[in-house]
Symmetry: C2
Subunit: 262 residues, 2 copies
């Protein structure tokens, strides 16, 4: 356990708060308070981690060594508004929000950015999940490092600029690849074919990306410059202008990527 | 083993031929011949499956129960050109090519379409890989079913139209998601961050798609309608017009998809 952090409280009780609170609780930390505007989710989470529910952020600050803010990016400002100037250590978990957001109100602050996609329903080991940390000073950084090491084997310091790039790249690798799966599922459904047919392909494509640079293992009609197949596919997508636009744009991108690697 | 098919030969010695030949050989079939314009790859494959190398397609037809054509789609026509009319059973492995391509020259024909992304270097079990089959008549279909069942647990009959849709949906789920990984890798490299940071996220996103409909587990700024983050990301991509276009188009798609599921 961290030398100075024994008790942790959370602002927010969504996916990220749920996973972090449960992981830290399981590692022996006390979860001292949960403050959330969603009353159902805060009762649910507080029951899981044996914590009390707080009704103000002020109440949360009084009885904890660390406050972890887990709210959507655009609500961080509202949370800061409610903070009284304090010596408490406060961190956020946002990929896209600068460390300096805390500067005016606090002296001890930081960021804990766990790079994973969380759903409340899926229990997940965090040991492989990269925890990217940043802090107001070296001492606080080491406290956060110790804390995060209790749940993850991959804790690294990265600055606010790098975290923003990481977040942006995660949008491509995770959110956008998932939307490609969703389009595939939609196309199959309309032809009375089960999406399950694609499961092995999806898993193997992801696995391959962890053993080879993705641009080097690119396959498909665009990679082979198979113009006839691409034209057929575009014609098949004529009922969905959006899908057709995506097909053309991503094929163009793959061709540009393969020109670079050749 | 199939009642009528004992020996199999291949036109082509690329990724698909290599995986199929090795799998059928391991299941007890004789690989009687390999014909390929790539001399190095045909010697390599013939050595692996104890087969002879043939120098004409005619030679291949004489001494085999089944010919499997594994060449790029646009080369299938050239292979058919070289075929003399014959009673031999001949199949192709193309997602996008109609069964009827064989009609003029042959009486016994079919399709074996294994739905997976193959690299020569990665050895892969085919047991989970869907094998989509189609044939000129019921008897040939059952022969192909028996054959494919020797290497895969997921053999199903689908028609040429469905196979084309399946192939198109695989371009989205596999080729396009891989190109999203490639963009993420490129963005990270330019910020001196290792692509390995995204591995757990990529694997978890793929895994989740096998347990939930992808549109229901979509996350990210577009799904949350987090306009501020999207605008920041677009500004960060100002040095790559192609990436910026993709970001905008796929964010629009995710918003359209989530309107449908809400």
């Amino acid at each position: 356990l961290s030398a100075h952090i024994h008790s942790i409280s959370f602002v927010g009780a969504g996916n990220v708060a749920t996973h972090l609170a449960q992981a830290f609780y399981a590692s022996g930390y006390t979860i001292s308070g949960i403050y959330s505007q969603g009353k159902a989710s805060s009762s649910e989470l507080s029951a899981k981690v044996n914590s009390k529910i707080c009704f103000t952020i002020h109440e949360l600050l009084l009885q904890t060594d660390l406050v972890i803010i887990c709210v959507p990016d655009h609500e961080i400002a509202d949370v800061l508004e409610a903070l009284v100037p304090s010596d408490a250590l406060v961190v956020h978990t946002s990929g896209g929000t600068d460390l300096t957001v805390f500067k005016e109100k606090l002296t001890n602050y930081g960021v804990i950015y766990p790079l994973q996609t969380f759903s409340k329903t899926t229990l997940l080991s965090l040991r492989d999940v990269p925890f990217c940390i940043e802090a107001s000073d070296r001492e606080k950084l080491e406290e956060l490092r110790l804390l995060c090491t209790s749940v993850s084997d991959k804790v690294m310091e990265i600055n606010s600029y790098q975290r923003k790039i990481l977040h942006l790249s995660a949008v491509f690798a995770c959110n956008f690849s998932n939307s490609m799966y969703a389009i595939a599922a939609d196309l199959l459904m309309k032809a009375d074919l089960p999406f399950e047919l694609l499961h092995p392909l999806i898993l193997e494509t992801a696995r391959k990306a962890t053993t080879h640079p993705p641009s080097e293992v690119q396959t498909g009609p665009a990679r082979r410059s198979d113009i006839a197949t691409m034209k057929t596919h575009e014609a098949m997508l004529k009922t969905s202008e959006l899908y057709r636009e995506i097909y053309i744009l991503l094929s163009k991108t793959i061709q540009a990527q393969s020109d670079e690697t050749q």
